[in-house]
């Protein structure tokens, strides 16, 4: 009886951990990967994220809200699949992505679909049982590109949207960035002040 009690206690204590790890996206994108002409993957967590955040936080021009946004993020993952116009992806692939999201407990917050231009933008959030937000995922698609952005942690959506608004850059100019060679110039380093 005592063992059952210990087991139940251990399970109760580990529930928040389950919820948190679920905010890291675990979806099957092999089909898209095989169809894509170009794939960009970014996986940042642990020490790499910590080091990157530290460097970014000391740059000049970084607002306090951006710094607090950085502090709340525990992991950031990006998958971008690009397709040439002669080799479009299958429509079912996008439906499959969204189905995997809802099956995984993600709730759509914003969903914008443009049937004429064949574009879509959906923002999902993941909340644990105690109603705290553990992450967001953005899935966007247009005829030549599908992007999945997964941010794990306490993500301040307002701060994130402000970052996007202040930048005022077209999405595609950022999305065409190659891994390790950013097109978007970083803010000046602290010594440049």
């Amino acid at each position: 009886m005592r063992y059952w009690g210990s087991l139940a206690l251990a399970m109760m204590l580990s529930v928040p951990a389950w919820g948190f790890t679920s905010a890291k996206l675990d979806i099957d994108t092999e089909e898209l990967k095989s169809q894509a002409d170009e794939v960009v993957e970014v996986n940042l967590d642990g020490k790499a994220l910590e080091q990157g955040s530290k460097l970014l936080a000391v740059r000049s021009g970084i607002s306090d809200s951006f710094k607090s946004l950085l502090g709340g993020i525990k992991g950031i993952y990006r998958l971008t699949y690009r397709f040439t116009l002669g080799n479009p992806y299958e429509e079912d692939a996008i439906k499959n992505l969204h189905r995997q999201m809802t099956d995984g407990g993600w709730a759509p917050m914003i969903d914008v679909q443009n049937r004429k231009e064949n574009t879509g933008l959906t923002v999902y959030s993941y909340t644990s049982e105690d109603d705290t937000q553990n992450g967001i995922t953005v899935i966007s698609n247009d005829p030549s590109e599908i992007t999945v952005l997964n941010l794990v942690g306490d993500v301040d959506l307002e701060a994130l949207a402000t970052v996007g608004e202040t930048l005022g850059m077209p999405v595609m100019s950022i999305a065409t960035t190659e891994l390790g060679e950013p097109v978007v110039p970083l803010p000046p380093a602290p010594e440049d002040k």
Binding site: L55, I76, V123, T147, L149, L160, M169, A175, V184
Partner: protein
């Protein structure tokens, strides 16, 4: 007694060691000792070259230099990885911010258009 037997008898005849036997044995021992001493002194003569101060400090210097080089290379790599992580983080956050902002603008636009109709 034939010739063969005579020769056999002469060969098996007991004979003394000779008056200079001791001197000869002692001389042989001395020469062997001096040969062994020469070999040892040769080995000792070559060994200290490796153990002399110069070589010892050279070895210490080489180890210190390789450790320092390894540390510097590791630091550089770590710094490079951090810079890449920074760029990727910034770029991904901007992309996410742009998408969220765009989605929000679309929703506000649709609501506005809906309200205007």
């Amino acid at each position: 007694m034939d010739q063969y037997e005579l020769e056999l008898k002469r060969a098996l005849e007991r004979c003394g060691p000779g008056s200079d036997f001791t001197a000869r044995v002692m001389s042989q021992i001395r020469s062997e000792r001096s040969l062994a001493a020469d070999e040892t002194s040769k080995k000792i003569a070559s060994f200290p070259r490796w153990r002399s101060g110069v070589w010892r400090w050279a070895a210490v210097g080489a180890v210190a230099a390789s450790l320092t080089l390894g540390f510097v290379v590791d630091q550089r790599r770590s710094e490079h990885r951090a810079r890449i992580a920074e760029a990727e983080l910034y770029e991904t956050l901007l992309l996410a911010g742009e998408k969220i902002s765009q989605a929000r603008a679309e929703v506000i636009g649709v609501r506005y258009e809906g309200g205007a109709q």
